[in-house]
Amino acid sequence: MKEFLSQLRGALAATVVLAAVTCGLYPMAVWVLAQTLFPNSANGSLLVDGSGTVRGSRRIGQGFTSPRYFLPRPSAAGVSGYDATASGGSNLGPLSMKLRDAVRDRIAAYRAMNGLPETESVPADAVTASGSGLDPHISLRNASLQAPRVARLRGLDPARVQELIRRHTEFPAAGFLGEPGVNVLTLNRALDAR
């Protein structure tokens, strides 16, 4: 019993002291360093327009539906997709009929919208939902296939649109880490700014 009481005291004291250090001092220290060294990142890499209104975060995708924009990946976050308070994927497995039907419909829509022949394959990222539902990127091939449509509807020179895609592409770190991705949100913002 005496042994138990001294252990209980140790446990209570350890919980309080370790909570103070690891849940008080530590996150505060990170906060101070983060806000001093990398304030932009620490506050969400925000995109702010001329009037000071926050238009989104460079890292968080937004939903677009108009064919005048580059369209992002399908999203399973929230009811309507790209709900940044309900991140997540579809969690549908390889044998899911629901997923098969969704992929089939998305392929048909993608081909129709971009004038793709039946024989040409569709980029996988264009017809599948991401893990977070907030993926800000699309693949290079997906962007190039959408480029002629966007250029036509906006009356832009296709070469100019390709140039914009290139400027909004994030390439793999050190040339081999990760995959190249085109940031749909910053690209569409750049299109609107023209």
Partner: protein, 591 residues
Amino acid sequence: MNTSAWIELVLFVGLLAAITPPMGRYLEQVLDPGGRTWLDPVVRPVERWTLRLLGRDATADHDWKRYASAMLVFSLVSCGFTYGVLRLQHWLPLNPQGLGPLSPDLALNTAVSFTTNTNWQGYGGEGTMSYFSQMVALTLHNFTSAAVGIGVAAALIRGIARSSTRTLGNFWVDLVRITYYLLVPLSLVFAVVLVSQGVVQNFKPYLHARLLEPYSVDGETKDADGEPVVGRRTVEEQILVQGPMASQVAIKMLGTNGGGFTNANAAHPFENPTPLSNFLQMLSIFAIGSGLTHTLGRATRNPGHGWTLWSAMMILFVAGALACGWAETRGNSIHQALGVAAADGNMEGKEVRFGVFNSALFATVTTDASCGAVNAMHDSFTALGGLVALFNMELGEVVVGGVGAGLYGMLVFVVLAVFIAGLMVGRTPEYLGKKIQAYEVKMAMLSLLVLSVSILGFSAWAAVSPWGLAGLNNAGPHGLSEILYAFTSATANNGSAFAGLGANTPGYNLTLGIAMWVGRFLMIIPILALAGSLAGKKAGAPGMGTFPVAGPTFLILLIGTVVLVGALNFLPVLALGPVVEHFLTGMGRLY
């Protein structure tokens, strides 16, 4: 798999090999109460003050029973503390979203989940937890459950290295020293590096951003204030989650906890923004567990033994990474028949910035270690990709494994391998000069049997019960995989999920809670008993008949033991789940 993938894999294993010796030496100093580190001038006074506050129990070395009871009392008290915070979060500070309290079963499940280093997320993250709950109730355990695991590994190492003694060290000294000298400083540096990549760290309420293109939705949705709205309405804003993320993400990786700040975990662009942050997160999951093998080698004055364990882990890891990478790169033939580009692989549930290979690699790392953070949704992996994740956990999380837990799990297999070798040559089995007898083998087997009984027992129960079947997101064999994955992940203290399973129900919250508790503590107690027994033995000098525990022969024997003893129990159920699913994918059968 392309050239970049190969370069990355080689670099990953190479870097891990390079950091293992320095990490191992540093751990040796941390785990020695009189050890010296360059942090001493700052941390030593705080350590002394803390230990004084903890009282008399934090002074002398203890035997295994006292070590175990101190660990259990601490785990229960801190678990109760977290339960309290989660139930009362609506009255506590730092809750700018005004989130309500968690239900009793969800709070219990979450408290157990974090106490046992599992970090199973029955909750949704950004929609459930206040900043205070994230920062205090959850982050406390991210540190302490990691420290407990490393402490138990240290006690076992002492049991192996010491002879003719009863003591295994002091639990409180281990807990405090590991937290102060190892986990907090490493996390501090890592968190700041993560912020540089784009992980957020602030205390602001969620931000409202005005969308570039507003859109309309039908049906029941939530408006900007989180109130439910029925009918058609136009959405003009996107609500961006904020909070003290970097500090939590850093320790969730280093401490192999894995509980994400957000529901999407490390797939969320704020938690894991770039391929570089992704690479560093994978490395940090393995860093401490890998270093501990070197600490073992040094403590037993047999560095080759440490490297042999490390090599066994790496061989199993690379095999898993290649298998998973291959399966995900091949993609889903059902979707490819519809017109999806075959070269792109399986992208459902994966992020473009990581691509197929980095998602497969992360899944292998996180299930090899008992981390459980995910950067892609495992539920949407191909049948064989998901099989690799399941198989890794069912080996008992010994491929590097959870911090500390991986090493003591692997040492159980070492004892068994030595025992099997002894049987084969007809001599009394010896491990580093100590005789392995009935008691040690019983304790080793006990800690292994817990795993199969809990995983298979609970999965079987859920698979025939209404509460178990109600949560399924997928039908057919994939449904069985969802259930199996849940109990495997809980018992192995991993915490990743086939997340389609709606497990936030009283039935799942309670059974998974029990599975996590059993998988953690019914494993640790036999292991401490084993450590106590080994400490009491005299170490004889190695003779002609001693089986060497370093070198290629032992390496092969150890891998064989891990694969056969560890996974054999699970082959039948794996055949019914992912294996059947794989063949049905080839046939195009849907559910």
